[in-house]
Subunit: 209 residues, 4 copies
DNA sequence: AATGAATGAGTCTTCATTCAT
DNA sequence: GATGAATGAAGACTCATTCAT
């Protein structure tokens, strides 16, 4: 009996989080109102307050849930044979999650990109597993001589993650134009690893600082 | 006939834009209220509506003004002798503007990085001069063989600009930690041009796609 | 499920309509403010918006309710044996309603007599039962040869109704002077049916058109 | 010099009254705003306050001007040979004025028909010349035996005037449908004098009270 | 636990009026 | 006298939160 009601409670909570994520992703925090979430989740407005202390708390719950859902994926990633293939696998996993949990991910990305987020520490905390995965790959790359060693790995990890986010935002802003979700993993890895410089016989290597 | 000089009117308008930019930068659009802006600008609430149709219009005005102030700087940039130095000069100019007009720039960057901005087209339009400047530099780079030709220049320009924005946000989020404003230009150019790969004798060229 | 009974909700709605009618009747639409209505109805301001979409909607509700309350009376009217007595009975019923629902009726009449009412179609629609009742009486009168047949019955019905309204307004404007409410039914019928011409032996029948 | 400026002042005053009348007629007192009137009159907003103490005062000015313009016409009316023709001439004159000064007249009629007008005494005062003209005609009619003597002439005058107003309102509300302005004089006189009863051999004269 | 009506502080916006020029 | 920018009180409406049922 307790089990059932606990499961039922959890189901309501999940429905609330999904509904809230959809609204927050679509309209942002302020433009979203509790009524709409309640209707979308199929519960009464007051019920929300049995599960979350406030609208802000609900938003935090969405962030946390989003991070949680993402993290689950990264634990079981095949280690690539090269930095490039490992990063590509990770990015591809991220894109998959993004497509499956678009609402949660949009909220996460938006919050991460807000210059004055009260939730930044939460974001960082929840982002940590992903950053750690990236850092692990890069660390191995450094050891193999595939990744530059003149910049701290954590910073590089942050930059790679940021590049991914950048491409997501560009995808959303361009309304599905360039880049498409499918090309994002390659694009991110290519951009991050190779940069914009021409390769092969370099005309003037001296100008490099 | 207007008894207050056009200059005086313009001064009020500027005060309003500055005050609004500060508030919007600090708290975001929704959390900012018209009263605070009026007080900060030293005018009565109603006066704002002599200059802007609505809070949204005022926000648009802030965006436009921010873009305008940035653009002024780009017209008088020394053309660098290399892609690297030209980009660095441009980024440095951008950072300078950013520091001088922090409020306006924060609003611009935040809006540009919001995944569902109603103002995205405005942003793009106003960002165009900057993107064009970047594209011009990259174009020249391509001709000189310094920039890869396998990806469209406009996309590369967008990526460079995005990388800059990414670093700004990281700077703000980390509360002035890494990266500092001063190192951003080099960091952006280095990241964008060289990527994360190790240079010099490449161990395994075969893995490159 | 609604914990407050539907009856209780309806009671609040009625209180709101009564309070609103009183205010609108007393001060007109624009001079009435939502706060006053809320206070008069003994609810919080926000509660009004649980029942009506806007101040205009509330006004429309008052009109509709006023019309509704009037109409109820007309269904159970004894058919007079003559046009005169039937009209008098109808007018008397109208006066009775008017006295019992003075606020609602004042709002209705005022709106009906405003030369540029946005609610005229609503008024007409709601007034239809009354106009129909009048028209029915006049139609019977025409058949009995008591009512002139050279003018369309609907126009005559409108004129009779208008004459009634005219007398109400005159009553209100004169602050209860002439005419008193009691004499209005006879006055209206007499004015409408007999007109101002002298009766009996007509001195000059030739001047009649 | 004084003459010229006085004339000029008067011209501005007239322009203001015309503009205000147009606005008040079109939108009513509350929905009209000072700005629109100023623009329509081609003066600055502040200038209005050199001519009128307040918006209310301006409204009063419009009423007064409207009444004034109407009254001028009634002084030079040809006395008809019969009550009917005299009333018809008066009504025709009124319709003419109404058409020429539609804005002013609409404001006057609307105000007269408002059940709680603060300006009712002004209306009555300004309406007096018209009512007196009607009363004069009816008085003569009574003496000639053309008008019933069982009801006070002032009340009859008020009823005739009210009937006219009723038809105007009906004309405006029906958006120029029935009745047309042209048929109003006959309609008013016919309605007022003859009433709705059938003429000629009356079937049951006994039912008359 | 669930419900949804009630609440009222908070917000944007309007606009008649003032007054320095 | 004319101007129109500035003013700020007032008002409609929103919505997160509470709480009786």
């Amino acid at each position: 009996m307790v089990r059932i009601s606990a499961a039922a409670k959890d189901a309501v909570r999940q429905r609330l989080l999904e509904a809230a994520a959809a609204q927050f992703a679509h309209q942002g925090f302020d433009a979203t109102n509790i009524d709409d979430i309640a209707v979308a989740a199929g519960v009464a407005k007051g019920t929300i307050y049995n599960y979350f202390e406030s609208k802000e708390d609900l938003f935090g719950g969405v962030l946390a849930e989003g991070a949680l859902r993402t993290v689950h994926r990264y634990s079981s990633l095949p280690h690539g044979t090269s930095t490039r293939s490992a990063l590509r696998a990770l990015a591809a996993a991220d894109v998959t999650v993004l497509q499956e949990e678009e609402a949660f991910m949009k909220v996460l990305v938006a919050e991460a990109m807000t210059p004055r987020s009260r939730n930044y520490s939460l974001i960082l905390e929840r982002l940590a597993p992903f950053l750690d995965a990236v850092a692990g790959i890069l660390e191995a790359g450094v050891r193999r001589g595939e990744v530059r060693r003149d910049r701290p790995v954590p910073q590089l990890a942050l930059l790679f993650t940021g590049t991914l986010a950048l491409l997501y935002i560009q995808h959303w802003q361009s309304d599905g134009g360039w880049p498409t979700m499918d090309e994002i993993p390659d694009l991110a890895v290519d951009t991050f690893l190779d940069g914009g410089r021409a390769r092969g016989p370099q005309p003037r290597r001296r100008t490099r600082r």
